[in-house]
């Protein structure tokens, strides 16, 4: 099951996202940008796919560096300038180079096994423990232990997968910075994609002060619990790390 999932991962993802592989003739600029990065860094060139939606996004998928696909939405192509797009594509190419699909598939082995054990134990436990009479009582107790154990494994591996995933995102940001040498462009792209660009205010401080009681609202950013469950690190942290890299390069 897991092997199948991994083997067909690229096709499943492409099919479910509606991504279409595009040729150089259809999207010459996009091919140019990718080729520039892979040529400079001696990476194999992935297939390129485009998804027709206004949502700005990009992803990479594939079993290994040689058979990978990088997909971008038409929304992101409209939103970003060439250098920002280069930063995003380099981020995705780093995912491919680091074999992140494989890493995450392997990481999910435990949770998948635990999940099936939990299911099996649950239904199995009902069948044997309560249906079979007193003779099976001990067996039922054992089953409950299995269920609890599997549940714990599942929860822990769930959290670990998310932690790994967040770590791989940081690694891909770092990789992108190394491939392009311009971390600030990726930071810009991230802000544009998330809409933060609009959040850096252009409204004058003196005008804001005029709105009474505005400053009573405390500036709370991010919650720790939410961070535990998310697959991507919070934007401020990513931007901060990128800008630290920018600072160390200059």
């Amino acid at each position: 099951m897991i092997i199948l999932q991994w083997y067909f991962s690229d096709r499943i993802v492409l099919w479910s996202s509606g991504a279409k592989i595009v040729t150089r003739e259809q999207f010459p600029k996009l091919h140019d940008v990718v080729e520039r990065i892979v040529a400079r860094n001696n990476l194999p060139k992935p297939k390129i796919a485009v998804i027709n939606t206004n949502m700005p996004n990009a992803f990479a998928t594939g079993k290994g560096p040689k058979s990978s696909v990088v997909a971008v939405t038409t929304g992101i192509l409209d939103l970003l300038d060439i250098e920002e797009l280069e930063g995003v594509l380099a981020h995705e190419l780093t995912h491919i180079r680091n074999r992140d699909v494989l890493v995450l598939t392997l990481a999910s082995v435990f949770s998948t096994v635990a999940w099936y054990l939990m299911q099996f134990g649950f239904y199995g436990g009902m069948g044997y423990g309560y249906g079979g009479g007193s003779r099976d009582r001990n067996n039922g107790g054992g089953m409950i232990l299995v269920i609890i154990g599997a549940m714990l494994t599942w929860i822990i591996s769930f959290l670990i997968i998310r932690a790994i995933s967040r770590y791989r995102e940081f690694a891909a940001d770092r990789g992108s910075a190394q491939l392009t040498g311009k971390p600030v462009k990726l930071a810009n792209a991230l802000m544009k994609i998330s809409g933060t660009m609009k959040q850096v205010p252009t409204k004058d401080l003196r005008r804001v002060e005029g709105l009474n009681a505005f400053f009573i609202v405390p500036a709370v950013t991010g919650s720790t619990i939410g961070n535990l469950f998310s697959t991507h690190p919070p934007l401020e942290k990513r931007i901060q790390k990128l800008m630290e890299m920018e600072a160390s390069m200059s």
């Binding site: 600030v184 930071a187 810009n188 802000m191 933060t196 660009m197 959040q199 850096v200 205010p201 252009t202 409204k203 004058d204 401080l205 003196r206 005008r207 804001v208 002060e209 005029g210 400053f215 500036a219 950013t221 720790t224 401020e236 931007i239 901060q240 800008m243 630290e244 920018e246 600072a247 200059s250």
Partner: protein
């Protein structure tokens, strides 16, 4: 673990960090800006506050003037007091050494607070410039804004009519965010357009 970290942080934040401490931390950060980003301080800075009518306010204004007149010669300082279209009073200082103008600016801020107008204080602004020039042959101006309500600095790089250079602002953040009390929440980086600092 992070709960305790937050707890400790909140204790530290409650320590009375004064405006003067925060502003004086610029006396080392401006060197970083110069060496890392080539930003020179122009020797100009300003403090602004909401002006009101009334005897106390004009008394305070006179006090500031008297104080600055007295220290003018000693610190090779010039100053200017203007009111902008928003009704904010600007005390603009120009001097030779960063340390001197910081000290003078802090003293002006203290006078304002002593007279009971601390809630009127809006911001202190510090002007920097690189060697580049824009289309109108005017020098690029970059600013650090100190918000008195939050006790924090943030960058402001205007490049046109209500357009700011966020990239450059982030670059400034990366260089000095650890040296001075810095506003990391970018949604609070409110600009101050058409600053009256240049004579």
């Amino acid at each position: 673990m992070s709960f305790f970290r937050k707890f400790r942080k909140s204790i530290n934040n409650n320590k009375p960090k004064t405006d003067s401490d925060a502003i004086f931390s610029l006396s080392s950060a401006y060197i970083t800006l110069e060496t890392k980003l080539g930003l020179k301080n122009t020797g100009r800075c300003a403090v602004s506050l909401k002006s009101v009518s009334g005897m106390h306010f004009s008394e305070m204004k006179n006090d500031i003037q008297r104080f600055l007149d007295a220290s003018k010669a000693e610190f090779e300082l010039s100053y200017n007091i203007v009111t902008d279209s928003y009704g904010y009073l600007w005390v603009i200082l120009q001097g030779k050494s960063m340390e001197d103008i910081l000290a003078q600016l802090i003293a002006v801020g203290d006078t304002i607070q002593d007279k009971g107008f601390s809630s009127h204080l809006l911001a202190a602004v510090f002007e920097f410039s690189d060697e580049g020039k824009n289309n109108n042959n005017k020098k690029h101006r970059k600013y650090l804004i100190y918000n008195y309500k939050y006790n924090k600095f943030y960058p402001f790089v205007p490049i046109g009519q209500e357009i700011r250079n966020t990239e450059e602002e982030m670059r400034i953040m990366a260089e000095i965010a650890d040296e001075i009390p810095f506003e990391r929440d970018m949604t609070l980086w409110y600009p101050l357009w058409d600053l009256p600092l240049e004579p």
